[in-house]
């Protein structure tokens, strides 16, 4: 028990240290722009279709499950509000971050883990190349940028999916559905006069992207013992990322909506 706890604190300590080291190097991002662009492609474009597909069905599920209950009370007209708030506040950011943890996070851990066990990280150190600036910073920045962008897509497609169910299963017309969506997202504020439910969701996504990529990179660079070590690092990256996303989600939701 005590060894599990000490391992947990050692892991968290390493992840926090890595996060601080990355933050301290953000100023040198311009120098790494081509690496960041490459990572944006790897983290973003390659998972767009997954986010769109999952987002569509999540919106449909929310609409179906909630709409059937609302229709018992004759309140199915409110389905647009529920889908929009669910997608923008929670489902969009959380589902997108979970998809990224499973796809991009696992790939980051496997890639850096393979580099660790094949001595490529040692080679960088021997050449006095800053591994955090060269390897970790581009991956973390790319994930933190891409996660909100994908969340916008996930939110939008989820709302569309909810609309399809509203019309086909709940007999709620499209115009009524979209009116209630827009009305529910009317609490506008900073930044850019975005609805609060949208910008808080995007902020959460930004944090989730950073958290999952730091955790995944930390698992990768600590990998040892060949292929088995890389497998363990990958598993640990996905597991820890999803736990961290859920815990962080609670605290961010509490921070934004506990008023």
């Amino acid at each position: 028990m005590s060894s599990t706890l000490s391992r947990f604190f050692a892991d968290v300590g390493f992840q926090l240290t890595l996060a601080v080291q990355v933050a301290a190097r953000v100023g040198s991002s311009w120098r790494r722009r081509s690496l960041i662009a490459d990572q944006l492609f790897q983290s973003g474009i390659k998972v767009v279709h997954v986010v769109l597909l999952v987002g569509l069905f999540i919106g449909m599920i929310v609409a179906l499950q909630t709409g059937l209950e609302l229709s018992r009370f004759g309140q199915q007209d409110q389905i647009g509000t529920i889908v929009a708030l669910s997608m923008c506040r929670e489902m969009g950011p959380f589902i997108t971050a979970t998809i990224l943890a499973a796809t991009v996070g696992s790939a980051l851990a496997a890639e850096l883990g393979t580099m660790a066990v094949s001595e490529e990280l040692a080679a960088l150190e021997v050449m006095s190349i800053d591994r955090i600036s060269f390897l970790v910073l581009p991956r973390v920045l790319a994930a933190a940028i891409v996660c909100p962008m994908l969340t916008v897509l996930c939110d939008a497609i989820g709302i569309v999916g909810g609309g399809l169910i509203a019309q086909s299963q709940l007999n709620v017309g499209m115009s009524l559905y979209y009116d209630s969506v827009l009305e529910s997202l009317n609490d506008r504020g900073l930044p850019f006069e975005l609805p609060k439910d949208v910008y808080t969701g995007l902020f959460k996504s930004f944090v989730f992207g950073g958290v999952l990529s730091v955790i995944s990179c930390a698992a990768g660079v600590q990998a040892t013992s060949g292929a088995m070590g890389v497998g363990n690092a990958t598993r640990k990256a996905v597991r820890d990322s999803i736990i961290a996303i859920i815990v962080t989600n609670y605290f961010l939701s509490w921070m934004f909506f506990n008023t």
Binding site: E119, A123, V126, M127, D130
Partner: protein, 253 residues
């Protein structure tokens, strides 16, 4: 070379009573060695005896639990970060599996230390990289990815990367491991030629006697955490010492 070097006694790498353990496994236990400037010293020993561990202390990848490893008079365990960078820029390290970054071309791998640690213009870097690739006899691989290269070619590219900063010391970690005898022999001759042309100090970790014969001025056997039987390759191979005879047994066949 060895006679003139030894009379000067200009020690560039020194291990003094170095101890290193990983958990309960003791790897180095009173390891002592002096490597003279300009010589090629080979550390031999069975697999898992800590040869690579000894080598990694020289470039500061590992710190001893006890004892001192110094390079050019500077303690590698206590050296300041900036000084370590400067010292590392004077050393090249050839990894067992070459350790090339697989998303960069061979040329970009060789260029990496110059791009990342100097302000050299691109044209000059390109020129220097091409020169080093030619020096290690793979002039046409600049645009090839590491996975398109054979094991021997990857080793050569790894060697070119180690040479690109014009180091004074080259550390070789099993430079011929996993290669067939013909390619091993060509790598050995390349190492010897480079040492003669560039007047570098070489510290070589190997379990191939052919590598020692071709490249080393002196050799020692790492066994039980200590370096024993330090001598010339001829004396080493011809020794009647039972432990050496047992270790060298099938290697001499």
């Amino acid at each position: 070379m060895s006679a003139s070097v030894q009379t000067k006694r200009d020690v560039i790498i020194r291990y003094e009573d170095v101890h290193k353990a990983f958990g309960p496994k003791v790897v180095l236990a009173g390891f002592n060695l002096e490597v003279y400037r300009g010589e090629a010293f080979a550390i031999m020993g069975p697999s898992g005896t800590g040869k690579s561990v000894a080598l990694r202390h020289v470039i500061g990848l590992l710190k001893p639990d006890r004892g001192v490893v110094s390079v050019d008079g500077r303690n590698m365990a206590t050296i300041a970060r900036e000084e370590l960078r400067e010292l590392r820029s004077r050393m090249g390290y050839v990894f067992q599996e070459a350790a090339l970054l697989n998303w960069l071309t061979a040329g970009e791998n060789v260029a990496l230390p110059l791009r990342e640690t100097t302000h050299m213009p691109d044209s000059e870097i390109r020129e220097k990289v091409n020169a080093k690739l030619a020096l290690v006899q793979v002039p046409d691989v600049y645009n090839k990815m590491p996975n398109e290269l054979s094991g021997g070619m990857r080793k050569r590219v790894g060697l070119a990367r180690a040479l690109v900063t014009d180091p004074e010391i080259i550390l070789y970690d099993e430079p011929t491991a996993g290669l067939d005898p013909e390619i091993s022999s060509s790598i050995n001759h390349l190492m010897r030629d480079l040492a003669q042309q560039l007047h570098v100090t070489s510290l070589i970790v190997t379990h191939h006697i052919g590598c020692v014969r071709t490249t080393a001025d002196r050799v020692g056997l790492l066994d039980g955490g200590k370096l024993n039987f330090v001598s010339s390759p001829q004396e080493f191979i011809g020794s009647a010492e039972p432990r050496l005879v047992r270790f060298l047994g099938d290697k001499l066949d």
